[in-house]
Symmetry: C2
Subunit: 139 residues, 2 copies
């Protein structure tokens, strides 16, 4: 995470323990947590940290381009420190959010360019279905 230090220095931002903890947690998990979930997870080690700090830090990290905001269709956002372009899949039954890994969907931007006059920057691809665990449960 040396580059995180550099990145913060470049922008005259302070790399506080809270900010570092939030980023590190996001890097460590594949659960695509919401702000609230991050808060609950860090509460033990940072008992005084407030939700506002989580939100403000997430915004900062997004602006820096090291975190992505996901819109899975719930009433809140999810966050992901894996900034490589990759699809997500959401379980309609339990709400968990997983990466789809090893698949290459990078061609999508070029494909879309054929059908629009927009200048395309990026995309988000969300699949919806039932996760293996919930499939078992409903049997």
């Amino acid at each position: 995470m040396e580059n995180l230090t550099l990145l913060f220095k470049e922008k005259n931002l302070k790399l506080t323990p809270q900010r570092y903890a939030i980023y590190k947690y996001l890097k460590s998990t594949k659960s695509h947590p919401s702000a609230e979930m991050i808060y609950d997870n860090l509460k033990a080690n940072y008992p005084t940290m407030s939700l506002a700090t989580i939100y403000k830090t997430l915004k900062t990290l997004i602006e820096l381009g090291v975190v992505i905001e996901l819109n899975v269709g719930e009433d809140n956002f999810r966050y992901d420190a894996n900034t490589s372009q990759h699809p997500h899949i959401i379980c309609l039954s339990c709400g968990r959010v997983d990466d789809i890994e090893n698949a290459d969907f990078n061609f999508l931007d070029d494909e879309a360019k054929k059908y629009t006059d927009y200048k395309i920057d990026t995309h988000q691809l969300y699949f919806y279905g039932i996760c293996p665990e919930c499939q078992k449960k409903s049997e």
Copy 2:
């Protein structure tokens, strides 16, 4: 819209003027309006209609499967009466939402199945970029 009448009857729902107007407006536009935008648009002809009615009707229409809820990343939802599976493209500058038409992205569900154990139901594909109008403006 004869099938809408039938659909409502089947579910013992009442096809009120308000509901009909909301659906008709969504059918008539490609602007992917938010609840608020629908409200503003119908206010002239239905001065007594409340936002709550818009929201309740949208929920009903979604349950009936004749309207789709879009999550473009703003702080509100957008709605679309074109229920065929098609991608959307959002202008990062002005926020407008367009369809990507004539493109066939239906293969995506099958493609994703190769990389996950989820049972896949559907997907949403959002492109982000700059629309032609905003491109001109920034020149």
